[in-house]
């Protein structure tokens, strides 16, 4: 019987020589770099905030900078109140319930310049398009001079369960509840059906993100955001009638 070749044992102890590690590492790095370039392109394809060449709803500020609730009535030197909301956002509805009527009243009487920024990112969270549908309907109502009324009716009709969304019939109903009638109602309905202000809806979402708003409701008084951890912010959401006091403290 021949003696076992010692070379075999030695070979077994030697590390295997697989494919070049450098080549595999290079492939991984190339894949990551390509992914980086792809991300660069993809991240730029998000919606634009430009509204150049498109019709603006009545009272809307160009490039998605929000819609003035009562255009032309704000008195000189009054504070500007910017509200960033989403029609599907339940906490926005808390703000609406607690202080909506005061906010409308002060806007209507010109004591504040009231600007709404209707964001739509909850559509992504809820996998629907209800926020965009409602925002567009709001702008259609603005053309009839009824944005605040629509806004109020929409929140009153917000589904109890977040994410249930709105149908076209829902938002048309809100338009009627807002008091749009006659030929204006016809215009409103066709504006809803045509999704006429889709571009302004997108522009508002993008612009709001650029303004540093990532959550709703966000409240700005004279351009300064109200801290969402502050007592004043939480009273706006929970204490009816707290708006004038909070406004005074921050303007």
């Amino acid at each position: 019987m021949p003696r076992p070749d010692p070379k075999e044992k030695l070979d077994a102890l030697k590390p295997k020589e697989g494919p070049s590690k450098a080549i595999i590492a290079a492939i991984v790095v190339v894949v990551l770099v390509l992914g980086g370039f792809a991300a660069l392109i993809v991240s730029q394809t998000g919606g634009s905030d430009s509204t150049k060449g498109t019709a603006l709803p009545k009272g809307a500020i160009a490039d998605g900078n929000g819609i003035v609730a009562y255009p032309g009535v704000a008195k000189k030197g009054v504070p500007t109140v910017d509200l960033y909301e989403d029609f599907q956002c339940p906490i926005c509805n808390e703000l609406e319930k607690a202080n909506g009527s005061d906010i409308y009243a002060m806007g209507k009487s010109g004591q504040i310049k009231l600007v709404y920024h209707m964001m739509t990112f909850l559509d992504q969270n809820e996998h629907n398009t209800a926020s965009a549908l409602a925002a567009n309907a709001g702008y259609c109502a603005a053309d009839a001079g009824k944005f605040p009324e629509y806004h109020k009716a929409n929140y009153a009709g917000q589904p109890a369960q977040e994410g249930a969304g709105y149908t076209v019939a829902d938002v048309k109903k809100f338009g009627r509840q807002a008091g749009i009638t006659g030929s204006a109602l016809k215009t409103f309905d066709s504006c809803v059906d045509a999704n006429k202000y889709a571009k302004y809806v997108q522009a508002t979402e993008t612009r709001s993100g650029k303004n540093g708003v990532n959550s709703t409701p966000s409240v700005f008084i004279n351009g300064k955001q109200l801290d969402q951890n502050s007592q004043d912010y939480s009273s706006l959401l929970s204490q009816p009638g707290s708006f004038p006091k909070v406004l005074k403290a921050h303007s």
Binding site: I91, N214, N229
Partner: protein, 164 residues
Amino acid sequence: MSSEVGSVSVHDVQTRDWRPWVGLLARLVLGVTYLVAGVDKGSNLEQTKRATRAFQILPYDLANLWGTFMPFLEIVLGVLLIIGLLTRFTAVLGGLLMLAFIIGIASVWARGISIECGCFGGGGATVTTHYPIDLLRDTGLLICAIWLAVLPRTRAGLDGRLWG
């Protein structure tokens, strides 16, 4: 299983080393976490971009870019860790990424910003934060990454099969 044995070096067999088994566990924990997180984030890029912006660390465009790239990076790292290819390299990269997450969460906590970390998709503003748990989890994952960076030889990994 002879192929199993083939992936473990002779040295390991002889000393009955337990460390490659810990390495396997670390690889799977870190790898599966990255893969799941990456797929979740990647399936809703707009939301991930917004969650990234909510940290208020990077400027708008850069935050969007990072929010788009990060899920892809996580998926690549997750797959490489699970199959055990280039373990040291991926562990170092994965550890640095985890360190960035820890710094990010600590930073929003310190600045009193209330957000959901978006660690597994979702994210954005919230009323109820859970930063201590987020940080504890990420620290555990960082320890996995450090273990693998120091001891990249693990059981049942491609590295072992290719290069012993």
